[in-house]
Amino acid sequence: MAAEPVIIVGAGPAGTRAAQRLVSAGLHPVVVDENDRQGGQIYRRQPPGFHRSHKKLYGTEAGRARSLHDDFDALLPSIGYIPGTTVWGVSDEGLLTMRGSEVTILPFSAIIIASGATDRIMPLPGWTTPGVYSLGASQIALKAQACTIGRRPVFMGTGPLLYLVAWQYLQAGVKPAAVLDTSSLATRLRGLRGMAVRPRAVTNGLRYMAALARAGVPLRSGITPCRIEGQEAGVTAVIWQDAKGTLHRTACDSAGMGYGLRSETQLADLLKCEFIYDTRFSQWRPKTDPDGRSSRADVYLAGDGVILRGADAAEAAGKLAACALLQDRKIPVPGEEILGLRETLNTMTSFADGLAKAFPWPARLAAALPDDTVVCRCENVTAGDIRHAATAYDSPEINRAKALARPGMGRCQGRMCGLAATEILAAARGEPVASAGRIRTAAPLKPLPLDCKVTS
């Protein structure tokens, strides 16, 4: 056994800590990462030639970022590190990766998936107008390229990232035109009890809001997004309704949107891991035990790619998944280490549950989308098309609707639109969203060049 290496997919907080723990037990894992530089999303490193300080890039999290970067760099002699490379498929021979047109097969004895998450998107009329970004992309623009999505952006959606990104833009000298949260104050307060287990995180969030308010940025809660106005030249305004039902028009030149996160679960699906519907986050995820074991003996999962608990939890979960793997190989792991990590994660889970309550996915918005709104951008499928497939064509689940009306059939395979499309289908049939299933994953996970060459 175990002639082949352990492969860790993803070099963010979870992947890094998993690698570190395996190395400390004498293993030599291989870390494959889609990004060119280690760090993941939240601790994304700036490209070569940029020289902003950690403090400037990561604010209150500068210390954690520094430690995650330094610890990884120290691992380099003991691991295989394959950056800038995307895992796109699974065959009998191993994981299939691509870098440009170069395909490599990576045999493995086990895999730790630390694939992270991306923004959860809710379509709305006009969201395909140039100048509309996800919150994550708005943040990447700042961190990676030191530029902004516009001079006067509106940030809209819900979740802690909404305020963090708006605050980061303010720090960078760009004053947002507004921060519009679909969650009401009362709803946010309901989540506070769970979040109180991590007072520092709550304080940070409140600090961002206070700073935005002091700078005169309108912060509105309990809003309903209506549409984004603009033409080919770009966004000109966001139209939204306040809690009382009054329409507002906020002029802007760009918009960043996001409604919490969506775990990147495609690789686990290709590996045929069992999935469950997680009602807390209203999405499907690979089934795991508390330590990160999947339904498959050789696949472990950690971080936001399986449960949305944030970066600090991802570090603990990465380490714990590595411990689980070591235990399964009869390599001794101190009992108190496991217990300590589980306890940390329990706290993080309470906090995440509180966050999910405070900033809920507004499923009602999907149900209320006008028929002519494009939901699947890749295939230009509207909400009305999905409803037609759901009712007139009697599609009980999303893959049937996909076959008949094409939502999720394009380049992104439904990563962006899939959850909203499923909500629309379920609502149109008056059935619970869990019964509408989830879009099946297929290789290649990302578009694969037809001129690719297999190298070994």
């Binding site: 059939m409 578009p447 037809l450």
Partner: protein
């Protein structure tokens, strides 16, 4: 509490299996005025019918199959008037291309042989073909052009027939797993996992790769096994490739084919097949096969090498040992009919299989020759079965 016994549903005909064959049969049975119940384990057209390449191709087929295939081509052209939608049928031609002289000679021979069946093919040199189809690669030396063949969307065709059958009065029951089929003195009795019972004097088995299991209920066995076609699709680009382009190579790995849909994506398939499992209902797409297809596709149309593949898929297809389907009346059980095991070349045939089986069931006969596909080739004259060499590729 009292036990509720559901009344069994009765009809003239029960069709077990709602793929393209079963759905089309149900639809055409209604045009003959027979009442019909269509039972589908999952959703209509979900297995091989919905996952195949989408070829509406006559050329290259086993010659005695051409009358059935010609009938189907006629129905494909009349889908809007028959079922109210066209399933994206594009009769923009089909070309089979080769790079080797011996394969070219086979194409020429086939073009001569199929003429008496009413199929007119044009044989061209590579250069002649490139004048007409400039996307064809420089290695191609012989091309066989069938101008009235084309392609359609398999995801739409069977569901469209299913809905049309329902509109015409058929009882279409989806998510209905058949657990037992038996026959008493006069009637077939079908029991389903949902507790339903269905009774009819006539029954058609059109269970695709699962047809063998059902036929076995009546002691009739077919040597067949499931396999998984290896399909893929590229990102979209402007619509330029009118005909389906398929390799006519004698080497399995090289036999790939592609078609461009109106919205621009290029769909491809061929080469080695994968494994499929009848119990889990899963057909395996081996991404190594996708990698093997790539250089072969680029040989047909070099420009595709600049594209990217965005998705791959497979489906469970039933392959009979002699590469021909099982079609027609049971040799031993009266009222029992078969239409399954289409060996990956059934999509084009589907509409005519429905029309022909409905005709056979309703009137007792059909002008379409079905003898090569008879069940008795395995059960009665197994030792002297036809030496069929049907060309696969659908």
């Amino acid at each position: 509490m009292k036990t509720y016994l559901r009344e069994p549903a009765r009809a003239d005909v029960i069709v077990v299996g709602g793929g393209l064959m079963g759905a089309a049969t149900a639809f055409f049975l209604r045009t003959h005025g027979l009442s019909v119940i269509l039972l589908e384990r999952d959703l209509v057209g979900q297995a091989a019918s919905g996952t195949n390449f989408g070829n509406v191709r006559r050329q290259g087929r086993y010659l005695p199959q051409l009358p059935l295939s010609n009938r189907s081509r006629d129905i494909w052209g009349r889908l809007p008037e028959l079922i109210g939608e066209d399933a994206e049928f594009l009769p923009n031609g089909h070309i089979r291309v080769t790079t080797r002289p011996e394969d070219g000679e086979r194409l020429e021979q086939y073009a001569r042989d199929c003429k008496p069946y009413g199929l007119d093919l044009t044989i061209m040199t590579g250069d002649q073909a490139r004048k007409m189809f400039p996307m064809v690669g420089p290695d191609i030396t012989t091309v066989s052009y069938s101008p009235h063949d084309g392609h359609a969307n398999p995801r739409l065709a069977a569901p469209a027939f299913g809905r049309a059958a329902r509109r015409a009065g058929a009882l279409v029951v989806e998510r209905c797993e058949v657990t037992a089929i038996s026959k008493d003195a006069s009637d077939f009795v079908v029991e389903a996992a949902n507790g339903g019972r269905y009774i009819a004097p006539m029954l058609q088995i059109s269970g695709g790769a699962w047809g063998r299991w059902m036929a076995k209920s009546f002691g009739e066995d077919v040597p067949m096994a499931p396999q998984a076609p290896q399909m893929g699709v590229t990102e979209p680009l402007p619509y330029r490739i009118a005909p389906v382009i398929g390799s006519a190579s004698g080497v399995t790995e090289e036999v790939v084919y592609l078609r461009q849909v109106k919205r621009g994506n290029i769909i491809f398939g061929g080469g080695r097949r994968g494994t499929a499992d009848l119990v889990t209902k899963r057909a395996r797409l081996d991404p190594m096969n996708t990698l093997r297809q790539m250089p072969c596709l680029a040989r047909l149309v070099p420009a595709v090498s600049q594209l990217r593949v965005i998705r791959t898929w497979s489906g469970v297809e039933g392959y009979v040992e002699d590469s021909l389907p099982v079609m027609g009346a049971s040799p031993t059980v009266s009222g029992l009919f078969y239409a399954f095991g289409f060996c990956g070349h059934g999509f084009q045939l589907g509409p005519a299989v429905g029309a022909t089986m409905a005709e056979l069931i309703a009137t007792g006969s059909t002008d379409i020759p079905l003898d090569p596909f008879r069940m008795s080739r395995f059960t009665q004259d197994a030792a002297t079965g036809p030496a069929a060499t049907a060309t696969r590729q659908t």
